[in-house]
Symmetry: D2
Subunit: 336 residues, 4 copies
């Protein structure tokens, strides 16, 4: 349920509503807007009787929400959210950002070399996996703690903020020490306990779409994080699983304008995992930016053929440089 | 099987190979190239013994093809194909084209008004359905013969060449009288008898991807047309069927660079059927062009709310005009 | 629109309604039932005003149908349809049938040997393809006319009625000479001109589900045949296309009870194409029968390893015999 | 890598191999069989050189595994696994079991009433969710700790062992106090930390297939549990996500014989979540058993229309009773 207040509602009236909601055994979550405040009601099990609420002073409207999300909805936060990561701003109206780096951190040489190169070519953030979710248990699972240490080193040397994945609630504190953005992988998009715990920190979360998640489920997953108090969620489309086997996944860029209609959260695209083919990454990156993406995240590896994971979809450093010069020109054409 | 000739092979040597293939009870299809000729061998039931062929004079190599297509493959026609429709050129290196018009022809007023408007705003071809494939038999199936007549009228008044669908072999001659490009709809992508008959005409065919066809099946369907002698095939991606219900289909733009790697045929995108939502058409059109599409095909209707089919995905004339001014600027940025 | 008549409505009243519908420029299709007659109204483009109809004598109810089918719906034909093929009855309350034979007719020896063997083991009909739809044009496409002749020969020697595919309207007459049931393949499920032409004959049509057709589209395709006058449609589920690659398609047996709720037409299952794996055919055949299928259609080949198409999914004759003894016992357990 | 020992290999030889593997910095996992022991080698990042191993005494063969699983593979454990839950045996050659109960535990009355009823009608285990994964955060998420207490009460009153879901590693100990089988839900199939922790307990784990997981990924997820030391994994197919919307998911029963070929683990079917429709549950349950399932898990609710989750797919108690009488007769026909 969402309680929309009159634009002239006083602070006192808002507080009275919040108290009334809490008296009903529910949580009240004020959502301030530029024109008016809305109050999200959380914690109910099914439909709530709004009799006690709708006639209170200052209430304009009570909306019974049928979608599984509301705080991430653009209806209640018409202006696009901008998220700050160190000096980088991500979101509506800001220059689209580029996140680059290897799938997995493999060695000091590999991650530092990549970080310095992509920084020089114009990347805004460095990506690299220390904890790697893998289909089977007998495959390289990441350098873990040591990988995080190497990421911090690469950050120190390059100045690039770090995006890295966290796979389990108990590792959040550890990852948070090293990461500027915590990534939730596609397989964990509905790992609700992980999402809730990430809602209790303040650092931005990069939430990847589940490989067969609908847009509604994707936004509802983001809602889990926001509902616990962390509004800094960056959505990341990375291709969906379909019958097509010519590409690793099927990248549906129409989700960019679609999510922009439905939600105020920034959306970025990962063309590397989406296509699984190096040669498709530059055209899809450019297409994503023209379609309105707030950024892209691409895999870059100094020696893709020796990569411990996802080599065929990683750009070489030279390939990344070539793409970046095209992207800079495109971003300038787009008016940034 | 494909027989690749030396670049110095004489006409006589080529003819000798063709005769040898025919002696084996098979068809030989010479595929002239800028450097050398290749001879496609068709009609075999399974693997062919190449003993009688590979040692003949002028033969460079015999390739046993495992893919279900070869004439449409870029391997054997490295340069991109350019297709001429009246004065319009479609394909590699040419300015991307815009095909616009209503889903179905409904009246003289509707089609002529639309034709004149989209012509003025910069469209290159007019689309409009006279024969409409519909899920159930109790729905509007198009004006048929009368629809074709109205398309010819609209062409006369606007000067725009016509793209319209043909659904059955016996109507090809009739449709060909009025159309400059004959369209094969998504449901008929594997209507092999229709494809074969279209291979026997010379007018260009716009082949839409089946809603659950793989890229390999898509190219193999084009091969049916080419193998019968019509090399003028334009491929059209229109979204694939997936689990997602927020859009009508899932538009995978990565097929543009992918098909460009695999085939020499032009590729265009239909963002209207792909997304099913008017608001998603302009961003997806621009994304398609940046990804390398040779054109787009969009639905435009003077009164979308009254359209007999596919209203919600049709642009208004005003909306189309707005999109065209953005597209012109983008096309110019892309160097055309 | 469907006009439901009172159970006491006279023949004269029914004729008056039919005349009134025709006066509106529409087709009227009487659907006699055991209790009452319904009149389907076809040919309308969108909603019809029922003012001229609903108050005429004998009319019980006017139903505006929103589904793309009505004649195949169980709502209007509550009793299950039973279709006769020679002496074999297919449908509700009848012993489930077994259709067996090779994917493609390859030689007299092959088809006659198979026919005699499967007849001896208890098959009810013989299947075999003379016209084969194939992904690419360079693959064996069937023996065509000669294949039909061999099927007639096999029928003469074995006594088994024939099921074989027809791919194009112009071949219907030819195929009808040899076939007892005309099959529409999965790629042609929405080849509407083919469906309409098959609606103008009286021989039963076995309609395979499109590989990505919804149940609603499947029933609407059957409606095309019925709406033209041929009520003898057997629906055949053959697996749908999904992300899973371990099987050729994904066989969803829940469509059996689901279609039984929605439609009165018989439903059979093709576990050979659905799974693509010989070892999965017997368990899926038995599961289909327990779920209520009116029959199964399986591929049997005397030498599957040499089959020109679909060898890996064909049962050997011995394998078929083994399966049939289990199936006979199961059918008897099911009360037939 | 898997090291297969001679059937006469001594304990000492086996220990020497294990030591050699550990010297290489890897884990060795002996897999005793009735005829011979195999030693799984885990923890390697990519291919391992087997030079140091293959010539040691007692080694019959060294197999380099390319599949992402080996311990769950039937290749290395040819006999089907039977899992004991209290007095109930689940797996190859045993009578198929029936797990029944509500989607979510809602009240003492509801769970106890259901438990007593399904016990009386022949159920073997009681299911009921205390922790419920839900798409959005604003929906009923289960009674949690109180739900577990009520399950224990229902177990005490009915004698039925309990199956209930665990969503996060930190709750495993709590859930284990009350549950006889710990369920992993479809959204957590690739929550690898949860899987690993469940590998460290001994109670059986019921692992549901991810809604878009391939069979290979499904078995690899089970491998995560087994690789940590818990061999008691029951696989549960619950339908996959496809384009079809007529059912909640698409239930592919062909995975039953397919998994039986690939793995030694028991497989059960959940027709309630698969179809989402009450009327489809009995036919699909019976089809599953005939296809070789080791059991079924169905939702039963005393008042489905008032259920807090998944009402439309729950059987009434009467409906469950009717189905059970058919199932008992079928199980007896199947020879149990």
């Amino acid at each position: 349920m969402l309680i929309v207040m009159h634009h002239k509602a006083s602070r006192k009236q808002i507080d009275a509503i919040i108290a009334a909601v809490r008296n009903m055994g529910l949580k009240a979550k004020p959502i301030p807007g530029s024109q008016r405040t809305a109050i999200g009601v959380l914690g109910n099990k099914g439909y709530i009787d709004d009799l006690n609420i709708r006639d209170l002073p200052g209430v304009k409207e009570v909306i019974h929400v049928t979608k599984p999300y509301k705080m991430v909805s653009r209806d209640f936060h018409p202006k696009g959210t901008v998220i700050k990561v160190a000096h980088v701003e991500i979101g509506a109206g800001k220059r689209p950002i580029v996140i680059a780096g290897p799938c997995a951190v493999e060695s000091e040489h590999q991650i530092v070399k990549t970080a310095l190169a992509v920084k020089r070519m114009g990347a805004d953030l460095l990506r690299g996996g220390a904890f790697k979710p893998r289909t089977g248990p007998h495959t390289f699972q990441g350098l873990e703690r040591e990988g995080l240490r190497l990421l911090s080193l690469a950050k120190k040397k390059s100045g690039l903020p770090i995006v890295t994945e966290v796979m389990t609630p108990e590792n959040i504190a550890l990852v948070e020490e090293h990461a500027d953005v915590l990534q939730v992988g596609t397989r964990n998009m509905q790992n609700f306990d992980l999402l809730k715990e990430l809602g209790r920190i303040r650092k931005p979360v990069l939430l990847k779409r589940g490989m067969s998640a609908t847009i509604e489920e994707f936004l509802a997953a983001a809602e889990y994080i926001c509902a616990e108090g962390n509004p800094n969620v960056i959505l990341c489309e990375r291709g969906i699983r379909t019958f097509e086997t010519a590409t690793r996944n099927s990248l549906d860029l129409s989700v960019i304008p679609l999510i922009n209609e439905l939600s105020h959260l920034p959306v970025i695209i990962d063309p590397s995992h989406a296509t699984g083919k190096r040669s498709l990454v530059p055209p899809m990156s450019k297409a994503a930016l023209v379609a309105g993406a707030n950024g892209i995240m691409v895999e870059v590896h100094p020696e893709p053929d020796k990569a411990l994971s996802d080599g065929p979809q990683s750009l070489t450093i030279e390939g990344f440089g070539k793409m970046m010069s095209e992207i800079k020109s495109l971003i300038s054409f787009l008016g940034f």
